[in-house]
């Protein structure tokens, strides 16, 4: 039996090729490059790869094709999300590359294999060498995410899930300060992540068993033909569980606070922004493309977990005293808000629904804002690392008015105050939900927003209205990379709130799935 080579549109694959190419070059640099010049070279390679990927997606705008033997769907929504991931990824890499803030010149441990607290570990604390393996690892993760959102085949989706997850497990454990916490986070993330992957794989097998195919298009045809038996619904449920885990939706969120807290803050920023986009991209594609004709199979589930996620995120967020954990619960709550938008599905055959563009816009807006918020966290430091305890932020506006003002902007955006990107995003997803008749859900979402606003406000209260503690933290002067990240994210948060028309229009035009 002759095997035919699948059709490959290299142009449509260009964004992925760029990013994966850069990751492979990064590995080679790590192997053969001289140690002294590795850091700048690695940063340059990673940035060229991700920015190249971003430019490639922009050039591809308008493309709609299924390629690589039906395994990849390069369409408007896929490209929009790929561009979002590449852009946010490039910004995260800039945070990785910051060398001015930590006295040891990097947020990453020099040699992860050295046991924490050992003599060798203490020696390494003072050396000027920096970790450079994180750049190819992160680039691989970005590539995996970009593959994830265009995967038109459950197997490719699973491969992409692993490609994006494995590097993340690793770099979560590379914090220079508080190493044990970081390693614990990495192990936890790995264990729970493996579970989620197993769920996904099992679901994949069940869906294959029920429909005889792993391609989303074929699954849809099988579903539409009325072959919706228990096996299929069970398979779908397991697939969704795997994806909800990655999107840190409650009740599959338990890893989020620990991992967000333990991982090095630039990595946390990267996960909070990019993983969320990738996971929701895959959720949207799976539900809309493969199961769009049988909305009833997933609608009650999504409805339920959206409520649980919003309530858990908002209420548990109230009780946090650590900023990174607080932002982790905020991420859980926002995952719930995003799911309300996912429900704004127009029904089969009609691509003009408002849910898809709303969620796409929300992902972009939330990614930028949360990335910025974590970037601010890297600035505020006390003796041995970042000062993330709430009480340490008291009176920050008097130490550094600009830092406090930028952080307030991000917090107000996360709370969804008008004239910030957060409001535009929330408005879009809630409108989609209400148009679809899910107004009770929207009402719960609004109440959850009010509760969540309390813990965002509490930080502003501390920064502005409290007296600074005598031995409070210092606010570091960021180098160029972090400054660029802060400037871009703050400007985007404002622009997407004040004049969001252009980006909303873009999301509207791009909101098309093929496959």
């Amino acid at each position: 039996m002759p095997i035919e080579a699948p059709d490959l549109s290299l142009a449509a694959l260009a964004p992925l090729l760029f990013v994966f190419g850069a990751a492979c070059i990064g590995v080679l640099v790590e192997a053969f490059g001289p140690r002294d010049s590795r850091h700048p070279v690695q940063v340059a390679v990673a940035l060229v790869g991700t920015v190249g990927g971003l430019v490639a997606t922009l050039l591809l705008a308008g493309t709609r094709e299924v390629t690589a033997g039906g395994a990849l769907a390069v369409d408007g929504a896929g490209l929009f999300l790929q561009a979002t991931i590449a852009g946010l990824g490039a910004l995260s890499l800039l945070l990785f590359a910051e060398r001015n803030l930590d006295p040891a010149r990097s947020a990453f441990v020099v040699s992860a294999a050295v046991p924490a607290g050992s003599v060798r570990d203490r020696e390494l604390l003072t050396v000027q060498r920096v970790q450079t393996e994180v750049y190819p690892l992160a680039t691989f993760a970005i590539g995996g995410m970009m593959l994830f959102v265009t995967a038109n085949d459950l197997l490719i989706m699973f491969v992409a899930l692993e490609v994006l997850s494995l590097p993340l497990y690793l770099i979560s454990g590379l914090a220079r300060r508080r190493r044990l916490l970081s390693q614990e986070a990495a192990v936890k993330y790995f264990l729970l992540g493996s579970f989620a992957s197993a769920f996904f794989l099992y679901g994949l097998a069940l869906v294959y068993g029920a429909t005889g195919s792993v391609q989303l298009g074929a699954v849809r045809e099988a579903v539409a033909a009325g072959e919706t038996d228990t096996l299929l619904v069970l398979g779908l449920a397991l697939l969704i569980v795997g994806l909800l885990f990655k999107a840190s939706v409650a009740p599959f969120h338990t890893w989020t606070p620990d991992v967000y807290q333990g991982a090095p803050t630039p990595v946390t920023a990267f996960m909070a922004a990019c993983t969320k986009v990738a996971a929701f991209g895959a959720i949207l594609r799976l539900l809309y493309v493969a199961f769009g004709t049988e909305e009833w199979t997933w609608r009650p589930l999504v409805y339920g977990v959206a409520i649980v996620s919003m309530v858990v995120g908002a209420v548990l967020g109230l009780t946090q005293t650590d900023l990174k954990r607080m932002l982790a619960y905020s991420s859980v709550a926002h995952a719930g808000f995003l799911l309300t938008g996912v429900l704004g599905f127009p029904g089969s055959g009609d691509p003009a629904g408002t849910g898809l563009p709303a969620v796409m816009f929300y992902l972009l807006a939330y990614g930028l804002t949360t990335l910025g918020a974590f970037a601010v966290l890297t600035l505020v430091r006390s003796g041995d690392g970042e000062a993330t305890h709430l009480s340490q932020w008291a009176g920050l506006s008097q130490r550094s008015p600009l830092t406090a003002a930028v952080m307030s902007l991000f917090l107000l955006a996360l709370a969804g105050i008008p004239l910030t990107s957060g409001f535009t995003g929330k408005f879009a997803v809630f409108r989609a939900a209400i148009e679809d008749g899910a107004w009770p859900l929207a009402l719960v979402a609004l109440l959850a927003s009010a509760v969540a606003a309390f813990f965002y406000l509490r930080v502003i209260v501390l920064m502005y209205f409290s007296e600074p503690a005598a031995d409070g933290p210092t606010v570091g002067v960021p180098g160029l990379p972090t400054t660029i990240v802060l400037a871009v994210t703050a400007a985007a948060t404002l622009v997407l709130g004040v004049v969001p028309g252009a980006v909303l229009g873009l999301a509207d035009r791009a909101a098309i799935f093929v496959g």
């Binding site: 563009p357 009176g395 008097q398 107000l412 709370a415 105050i417 008008p418 004239l419 409001f423 535009t424 408005f427 879009a428 809630f430 409108r431 209400i434 148009e435 107004w439 929207a442 009402l443 609004l446 109440l447 927003s449 009010a450 606003a453 309390f454 406000l457 509490r458 209260v461 502005y464 209205f465 409290s466 004049v499 969001p500 028309g501 909303l504 229009g505 509207d508």
Partner: protein, 566 residues
């Protein structure tokens, strides 16, 4: 297309002014306040120009301008005013310069700068103008929420000892209401989209014929937000805290203007957009309104803190306004709108004069004062005028509006009107008791320390910050350590050094601050006709939207009532 840039300028000028003031160096407080005063006077001028350009017999909305803002949502940046919005803009225009002047010599708490205060104040003015001038529901919502941020910082950064608590409570209450309204705003859009083209334009939404069940839900969404803002009685608990802890300037705008957004919202959005639901829920609203009139008046009498007392009187007055709005007659509605203006002037004046007293004594407690009138007759005189305006004595501005509300409500809602009238008596009680306790009797309290405890000056500075507790104000005042006082002074005026001259009468600046408000109290008390001419057509249009029968009560009574007040 845009026809008139006047309203756009009224939003843009203070917004730009805020940016300019915020960009000034930290120590340039003098420049900041001059710029703030200049900008606010320009806005006042623009408001007057808008009034001149407004044709009372013309279209419902005038001075309109509109540009697409977010095409994806069908949102326009659309401004325009009817008579109701116009008088509110005039009120904003008058109050902001007064507030700037009243805060002229305030000193910021440690590590803060009055420059920031004036910047927030101007930003607040931009939002206040926007919220009244918006003719697009989405735009209205944006200003409605954005308004919270400057007020939050004004209360939280420059307020009294419990400012953090008060600021957060204020913000969360309003945000909660706002979010419920957001659901209704989106719902309104969805309804309009299902009836044709999705839009937020007020005029198009008004034409919609909404299903009664949907109307009920949407009405409640808007109503909750406005009832919190106004505030109506079960949702009022944030106001006494915010009013008491806010700096005087902030309190004047909070009670004088911000709360009016609630009653303005009833008139502009609840009634015309959801007429069936408005009629259905009117009895419920009236119960809340009348309960507010009586309950808040009783609470006001029991207050020991003067700023809390004034806040409670406002809640009582908002009950009258809500009564006027939901009585569904043009006359009562006109009275309610006029009340909104008059209340802003009268309560603003009362807050300012109370603030002047507090600045002298350093305590907010009624019990810490007595016999002030003998030593500061001008202060006492203005206090009396403000108080009388507040209890709606004939000859003051509030009388006209209160009378219009009551006489207009009686034909349709006699029971509620009679009950509310009892509130007038209670108002006389709380105002006159306050005046009597603080201004008359033997000189006593913090302003007259027993047998001239020399060096008691610093206590006056410190007390507003370190708790308006009676203990620290009355007993701690005397021997207070001289060093602590100035370092931690909040928003208090400089206290004179010698006990004998400790109580000084109103300074020239303070007279300039109160003069325009006193003039308006008396001027509008004897000749309210110009305002009524502006308000009445808009209210009549609103009442015809809600399907009330304006012909039954208005044509005959309106001229009569205004004659009566002349």
């Amino acid at each position: 297309m845009s026809d008139s840039l006047l309203l756009v300028a009224m939003v843009a000028v203070p917004a730009v002014g805020a940016a300019v003031v915020a960009a000034l160096p930290r120590e340039r407080t003098d420049t900041a306040r001059v710029v703030a005063l200049g900008v606010s006077l320009v806005v006042l001028l623009l408001a007057v120009l808008a009034t001149v350009a407004f044709d009372t017999g013309g279209d419902r909305f005038q001075l309109t301008s509109s540009v697409p803002w977010i095409p994806g949502f069908g949102v326009d940046f659309a401004l325009g005013v009817d008579g109701i919005a116009l008088v509110m803009l005039l009120l904003v225009g008058v109050l902001v310069p007064v507030v700037v002047l009243a805060s002229w010599e305030d000193r910021a708490p440690a590590n803060r700068s009055m420059r920031t205060f004036f910047a927030w104040l101007l930003l607040l003015e931009a939002c206040m103008v926007g919220v009244f001038a918006a003719t697009d529901v989405f735009l209205f919502y944006v200003f409605f929420e954005a308004m919270l941020v400057p007020m939050y910082f004004i209360v939280g950064s420059f307020g009294g000892p419990r400012r953090q608590y008060a600021a957060v409570k204020f913000f969360l209450y309003s945000l909660l209401g706002g979010l419920v309204m957001l659901a209704a705003v989106i719902g309104l859009y969805v309804v309009s989209a299902s009836a044709g083209e999705g839009t937020f334009a007020f005029e198009s939404l008004r034409q919609l014929d909404i299903d009664p069940d949907v109307q009920r839900l949407l009405f409640l969404g808007f109503f909750v937000a406005f009832a919190i803002k106004a505030p109506l009685v079960p949702l009022h608990t944030w106001l006494p805290d915010a009013g008491a802890e806010a700096p005087i300037g902030g309190a004047v705008l909070l009670v004088g203007v911000l709360d009016k957004v609630g009653t303005f919202g009833f008139l502009r959005y609840c009634l015309p957009l959801f007429p069936d639901a408005s009629r259905e829920f009117a009895p419920l609203v009236l119960v809340l309104a009348v309960a507010g009139v009586l309950y808040a008046a009783l609470l006001a009498m029991g207050q020991t803190d003067m700023k809390r007392l004034v806040s409670y009187t406002s809640i009582a007055h908002f009950g009258f306004i809500a009564l006027g709005v939901f009585a569904f007659t043009t006359e009562a509605g006109t009275g309610a709108v006029l009340y909104m203006v008059n209340h802003g002037i009268a309560t603003g004046l009362l807050f300012i004069v109370v603030g002047m007293l507090i600045a002298r004594g350093g305590s907010r407690l009624v019990g810490d004062y007595g016999g002030v009138a003998a030593h500061a007759p001008k202060l006492a005189g203005v206090f009396l005028i403000a108080g009388l305006a507040s209890l709606a004595l004939p000859g003051t501005n509030s009388f006209v509006s209160e009378f219009l509300v009551l006489i207009g409500s009686f034909p349709t809602r006699p029971v509620f009107t009679v009950l509310a009238t009892a509130g007038i008596i209670l108002a006389a009680l709380y105002v006159l008791l306050l005046y009597q306790r603080t201004m008359h009797g033997p000189p006593r309290g913090v302003l007259f320390p027993a047998d001239g405890a020399v060096g008691g000056t610093t206590g006056t500075d410190g007390t507003t910050r370190h708790g308006a507790t009676a203990a620290s104000a009355t007993t701690g005042g005397g021997p207070g350590a001289a060093s602590g006082g100035t370092a931690t002074a909040t928003l208090t005026h400089e206290a004179p050094a010698r006990p004998a001259s400790r109580l000084r009468d109103l300074s020239r600046r303070e007279l300039v601050v109160v003069a325009p408000l006193v003039a308006l109290v008396i001027g509008l008390g004897v000749y309210p006709q110009p305002l009524i001419r502006l308000i009445e057509p808009a209210v009549a249009a609103t009442m015809s939207d809600v399907g009330a029968d304006p012909a039954g009560t208005t044509p005959a009574t309106t001229p009569g009532s205004t004659e009566g007040t002349d």
